[in-house]
């Protein structure tokens, strides 16, 4: 848990909740773009986008966690993460800042109605608690 203290995180928001991803997981952050739907049996797969000539899938985390669906605003972003050698976009409501945490607590059983298994832990800042997502687990399980 302690080694996480040295790492920078990118903080973002999903349905007014604060989350964060390890900066090493993030490939880039882009504005919302037109997403082409792919009708597959993965329910939370939003579709695909064109990232400079590459076709990459985009995942709707709101659907994944059963949150109220996102509305496309000026602040909506797609965070492109690199997971298992593949680039995957995730839709977030807002990307706020790059932060380091003073203290990280192990996750409780449930975090904001989501199974605690999906979290590395809870980061404590002066403004409140930030949930640290295990992105690979979220995407693949």
């Amino acid at each position: 848990m302690n080694d996480l203290l040295d790492i920078q995180f990118i903080a973002y928001e999903l349905a007014n909740e604060k989350y964060a991803l390890k900066i090493s997981d993030v490939f880039e952050i882009i504005r919302m773009q037109q997403i082409t739907p792919v009708h597959s049996n993965k329910l939370f797969l939003e579709g695909v986008i064109n990232l400079r000539g590459k076709v990459i899938p985009v995942v709707n985390l709101h659907k994944r966690f059963g949150l109220p669906n996102y509305t496309n605003t000026k602040a909506t972003r797609i965070i492109v993460v690199k997971s298992r050698d593949e680039m995957i976009g995730i839709i977030v409501d807002k990307v706020s800042q790059v932060i380091k945490f003073d203290d990280i607590q192990p996750p409780p059983e449930m975090v904001a109605g989501i199974d605690g298994e999906y979290f590395e832990g809870l980061g404590i800042t002066q403004d409140g608690v930030v949930s640290l997502l295990k992105i690979e687990m979220v995407l693949y399980e």
Partner: protein
């Protein structure tokens, strides 16, 4: 000891060469079997064997060398009319060919330690040599000596040298310069070993004295162990004949006799005669010259590089469409700005260059089908021999070019079809006679271009298919139910042969009849986005027509809209596009169908599968009729956007396999469109389970659509 012959490049070059020469050899032997022995043909085969021997001994591959050496001996005898070609010889030669192939394949793994046994074949070859040649040999020996005698007499007055135009002009200019052209006749002692090598050595030393233009017999084509004793060299030199003689006697060792005489360019009449005699040989030479020239102009390129180039060109095609689109927008926005006009001009030019580049790269990947066709004569010969059938193979359009990867993938299916035609299609000679057909069956394989496709047809004039038999077999093997079988149309019955496990052959042979063949054929063609059609008439024959795209990486696609989503359909699968009133769409067993040109086609409303609302209040709908392998069906689309070159991009492993979608492509405006996988779509029709589960999911969202749907059904 590591020699340069052990380097991988050398081995690669050696194997390539062997492969090429074996191909020539096979062609040659096949031709030899069919036609009377022609000197030029035998000369060609002989040369192939010689080349093989040379390169294999250079690589130190003894087994191959020994085998080719014996083969060379046989060809040499044939060439000198000491041996008559008959079936046994041809069969042994084919065996040798197979053995050489095995040796070649084995070389990569085992180098010289190959375990493939050649001694038996060597024995057979020697047998041929011994038994057949002995009798003729003596006779010939006499002839030879006679020839020798006459040779020495006719030395000065006949054209004994085979001169090429370049040699002749050389001779002329030399004479003009005041040099003399002399014939130096050298006699090599009878007991000397390796006479051909000696002849070459003499050639080299004479070359130091003057310029040797030609020799008779041509020392470069002599087999190593030939018993030549008398060799004439044509030399251009400044020396007189006497000088040359003394010089030659001094320089040349181990020579019995040297004679020097003036060379008289023969008069026209004789020249003509000689030309006729030597014409054939010359032709071969010319051909060889040409191919040498071509070789130097080609470069072997790794196919991976080509593949990569193709990908890059694909990217460019996409970006080019985008530039054009942006240009158009700017043009609309800033009508007065001339810079925009410049941009448009540049964009147009680039698009021309890119499309030319694309074509060129595509062409670079193309190969003539001939290399595939080359395999068939042998296959047909072997099969018809083992089946005791008499079959004429006609190959047409071998120069049709196709993408390398497609040729590779289409090879197996074609071989299957040929095997089937021979085994089940064409009847044995007796049956054919009884039926009043010509005794020889005909198998015709034809390839040609049609728009953006290559069509390959395999046609035989055999028995055709027995529809009843197919139906019975299908029911027996539980491919379809009896009830379903009753309702099938003729073409549907024929198409049953593509189902897994179906065979109408009474006996399973090693050639065919296991009922997997046609299934594999269909899968291969599916994979290539191809279409296969069968026409059959009982008693008259069967014709398979395969339609394939020219290339796989970039394809022409039709862009369509379903609801407001854009999709691309591979043009090669589109048969036609029709507009039909909604009222003409009927429903049977919950499956929409439509009649187009008297053909009942199942219809897919992708809207239902994707959970999109069907367009309401529309009188007519567009139906795109698709075909894959043998299946035909239609899909309903809301709008036709147009056709465009599209580059297939994979969806990636995260999304995985999506039913009905083969990949995605990037459109001119930068957005992504999914490409329909026609094979996958066709499976949707039969896949009731998927349909129902999707219906449940879609029910909530598109209830009104379903309602409307059921209403129309009721209305009918």
């Amino acid at each position: 000891m590591a020699s340069i012959y052990e380097s991988s490049e050398m081995i690669g070059a050696f194997l390539d060469e062997v492969e090429e020469q074996l191909q020539f050899l096979e062609e040659g032997i096949l031709e030899l079997e069919q036609k009377e022995e022609k000197p030029e043909l035998i000369q060609k085969i002989f040369r192939v064997a010689h080349t093989l021997k040379g390169s294999s001994s250079a690589m130190g591959y003894d087994k191959m060398k020994n085998l080719t050496h014996e083969m060379e001996n046989v060809f040499d005898k044939i060439r000198n009319n000491l041996l008559k070609i008959d079936n046994t010889i041809i069969n042994v030669l084919f065996k040798c060919l197979d053995c050489l192939r095995m040796l070649k394949d084995d070389y990569l793994e085992n180098k010289n330690d190959t375990k493939i046994e050649t001694s038996e074949l060597l024995e057979e070859l020697r047998e041929i040599l011994d038994c057949k040649s002995n009798c003729v040999c003596k006779e010939n020996q006499e002839k030879k000596t006679e020839a020798e005698k006459s040779d020495s007499y006719s030395l000065t007055d006949s054209e004994i040298f085979v001169l090429q135009d370049s040699d002749r002009s050389l001779l002329k200019s030399a004479v003009l310069e005041g040099k003399s052209s002399l014939v130096c006749q050298v006699k090599i002692p009878k007991d000397s070993l390796m006479k051909a090598t000696r002849a070459c050595l003499i050639f080299n030393s004479l070359n130091e004295i003057g310029q040797v233009i030609a020799s008779s017999p041509n020392i470069f084509e002599l087999p190593d162990d030939c018993e030549v004793t008398l060799i004439n060299y044509l030399i251009v030199t400044e020396m007189s004949s006497k000088e040359l003689k003394s010089r030659a006697e001094y320089e040349l060792m181990d020579v019995e006799e040297v004679k020097v005489s003036e060379y008289m360019p023969a008069n026209v009449k004789e020249e003509k005669k000689a030309k006729q005699n030597l014409g054939e040989e010359k032709q071969v030479k010319c051909k060889k010259g040409n191919s040498d020239k071509r070789c130097s102009q080609t470069v072997r390129v790794d196919t991976e590089k080509l593949e990569h180039m193709m990908n890059l060109v694909g990217e460019m095609v996409i970006e080019q469409t985008r530039i054009a689109q942006v240009g158009n927008i700017l043009h609309g926005r800033y009508t007065k700005d001339t810079t925009v006009d410049d941009l448009m001009g540049i964009s147009n030019h680039i698009s021309r260059v890119v499309s030319e580049l694309q074509e060129t790269v595509m062409k670079a990947r193309m190969l003539p089908l001939q290399q595939l066709f080359n395999r068939f004569p042998r296959l047909v010969r072997d099969l018809s021999n083992s089946l005791n059938k008499d079959v004429d193979l006609i190959l047409e359009g071998g120069d049709t070019e196709m993408d390398r990867t497609i040729i590779e993938d289409i090879t197996d299916p074609l071989i299957h079809l040929v095997r089937n035609s021979l085994d089940h299609g064409i009847e044995s000679t007796e049956i054919r006679k009884a039926k009043g057909k010509p005794e020889k069956g005909i198998l015709k394989i034809k390839a040609f271009h049609q728009e953006n496709h290559v069509i390959i047809t395999v046609e035989d004039d055999g028995a055709g298919m027995d529809l009843e038999k197919i139906k019975r077999s299908a029911i027996e093997k539980n491919v379809i139910t009896e009830q379903a079988a009753e309702n099938l149309s003729q073409s549907e019955i024929v198409n049953l042969i593509f189902e897994n496990g179906l065979s109408t052959a009474e006996n399973v042979s090693d050639i065919s009849g296991r009922g997997v063949g046609m299934d594999i054929v269909r899968n291969h063609i599916d994979k290539l986005n191809g279409i296969i059609d069968v026409e059959t008439k009982e008693g008259e024959g069967t014709k398979f027509t395969i339609k394939l795209p020219l290339t796989l990486a970039i394809l022409t696609g039709l862009l369509v809209k379903i609801h407001d989503e854009t999709y691309a359909l591979p043009m090669s699968n589109i048969l036609e596009i029709v507009r039909k009133p909604v009222s003409e769409i009927e429903s049977v067993n919950k499956q929409s169908i439509v009649v187009i040109r008297d053909r009942v086609l199942p219809l897919i409303w992708l809207h239902d599968y994707f959970g999109l609302p069907r367009k309401k209040n529309k009188k007519n709908v567009f139906i795109v009729v698709l075909g894959t392998a043998e299946k035909r069906f239609g899909i309903v689309v809301d709008k036709l956007v147009g056709n465009q070159e599209i580059v297939i991009k994979p969806l990636g492993s995260y999304i995985g396999k999506v039913e009905g979608i083969s990949g995605a492509t990037i459109l001119g405006d930068g957005s992504v469109a999914c490409i329909f996988d026609v094979v996958g779509l066709s499976k949707m029709i039969n896949n009731k389970v998927v349909k129902e589960s999707i219906n449940i999911r879609a029910n909530n969202e598109v209830k009104d659509v379903d309602d409307k749907n059921s209403k129309t059904t009721e209305g009918i």
